[in-house]
């Protein structure tokens, strides 16, 4: 599969990223290299191999349903680029 300029632009749009021409070209090269490597992997015979669902062979990692006091709101909001006293604030998502 070739990574076209359109694919990069589409992926960028889905992630709400604004790329200039140079960045788009750079991404096109990088993403192509990643996808080309998949072609190498695809040469392996995986006919009788179960698809991997997790990198470690562990399962049933669960916690009990017990409430732990929530985090200090100030500390959480402090990480936000924009906030008010009680909420995270983002540019309006509807018109």
């Amino acid at each position: 599969m070739t990574i076209t300029k359109e694919i990069v632009e589409y992926a960028a749009a889905l992630s709400r990223l604004k790329l200039d021409d140079a960045e788009t070209e750079d991404m096109q090269k990088q993403m192509s290299a990643i996808v080309d490597y998949m072609d190498v992997l695809n040469k392996l015979d995986t006919e009788n191999v179960e698809p991997l669902s997790h990198v470690f062979s562990i399962s049933n990692v669960m916690r009990e349903d017990e409430v732990v006091p929530s985090y200090d709101r100030e500390a959480l909001l402090d990480n936000a680029p924009e906030r008010n006293e009680e909420c995270f604030v983002v540019p309006k998502t509807v018109e």
């Binding site: 990198v55 009990e64 909420c87 309006k92």
Partner: protein, 480 residues
Amino acid sequence: MKWEVVMGLEVHVELATKTKIFCSCTTEFGGEPNTHCCPVCTGMPGTLPVFNRQVLEYAVRAGLALNCDITRYNKFDRKNYFYPDLPKAYQISQLYLPFAQNGHVDLKLKSGKTSQIRIHEIHMEEDAGKLVHSAYDDSTYLDYNRCGIPLIEIVSEPDFREAEEVTAYLSKLKSVFEYLGISDCRMEEGSMRADVNLSVRPEGSTEFGTRTEMKNINSLRAIERAIAYESKRQIELIEDGGKVVQETRRWDDAKGESYAMRSKENAQDYRYFPEPDIPPLSISEEEIQHYIDITPEFADAKAERFMKDFGLSEEDADIIAASKNLAYIFEETVKLCDSPSEVRFWIMSQVLYYANEKNLDLEKLSISPEKFAEFVKFITGGKVTRQAGKQVFEQLMFGGTDFDVAAYIKENELEAVEDTGLIDSTVKAVIDANPKAVEQYKGGGTKIMGFFVGQVMKQLKGKADPAAVNKAVLDALEKL
């Protein structure tokens, strides 16, 4: 041309766990914005979600109750989308291996007709946060208290043909989940939400038409209206030579119409991939057997039993049994007073009257069966009339835990008038005061009887046995 409406439902149900699906924050409703949050549910980088054991139990029990095959080896998938209601920019969900598949729900409709709705699948996922779009500036405010609440999404096959099936289905899900104790399913609070996929096709056709999806419907009444609106819109559109466009529409209940969401919001490319943060979950045969063993008696079986054991009509039995709490109150009270028909009378008249009048959730009503039974004994023993009893019953429902039935009746002098002398003298006084009505009676106006009885009951404040008053009035008039 005759049209057939075809619908499928996607129902999201919040599970009543104490904590969120991937972190230990409380799921309690309300609270100041962002106070039920932590680094995991606000999507801070470097955090690791850990699955809540209780979610799996509730989910599997829901699946079993809806006759599904349970997936023994479960995985989660990452659904990517960029919208600030999910701070991680993805939702942890299940795409490739939903935990339950191929179920069905049997419905009983008002006409007596039955219908079966097939369940395609049920999967687990996390709820999103709340967005408040400011009316004053160009900002959206985010509250993540609901973000990470465990959800199951029940996806039906396109088996619905009329709105009544949809509301019956939702009512049934609510009843089943309440009996299981896994969700309170309050549509108004958003703990149960339904998306309706709807298309129309000429009757007899086997091909599906183009469907639209309606979101944001938060009551059974609104769903009925939304379905009526959307079917009419699609039929008119096609009959006018137009074409239905596949789109997501938002239902505005205040305006009574739906409108298409902009195409940007419609863009659906979720780029699912296996969720690396959550290891797979396997469910053992023993666990599944255990959940089957602890399955409670559901509404249908309970209604059958109420009809058989207590002589309830099918309609009354269905209404009482549909609510876990109402069925509990009914059955416990009957155990204590052994008067099913009298208990039925008060539930069907007063309890449902107030529930409707005050828009109460039947599951949250608290009526003590002990006090209810004590009250019923006053009625069946002829100590208090049904008329005067209404006042007592209102207190029984809303008077709080300290309400004392006997003391209230005594204080308010609500005991039935058993003194036949008093009844007779009241009858005489009413007859003496209404010579015109007496003339009418003598002239063959037997309907006037009701007037005399009504007057006597009024003077006795509804506290006399209506049958005794009736007899006394008749006797007195005959003697004139």
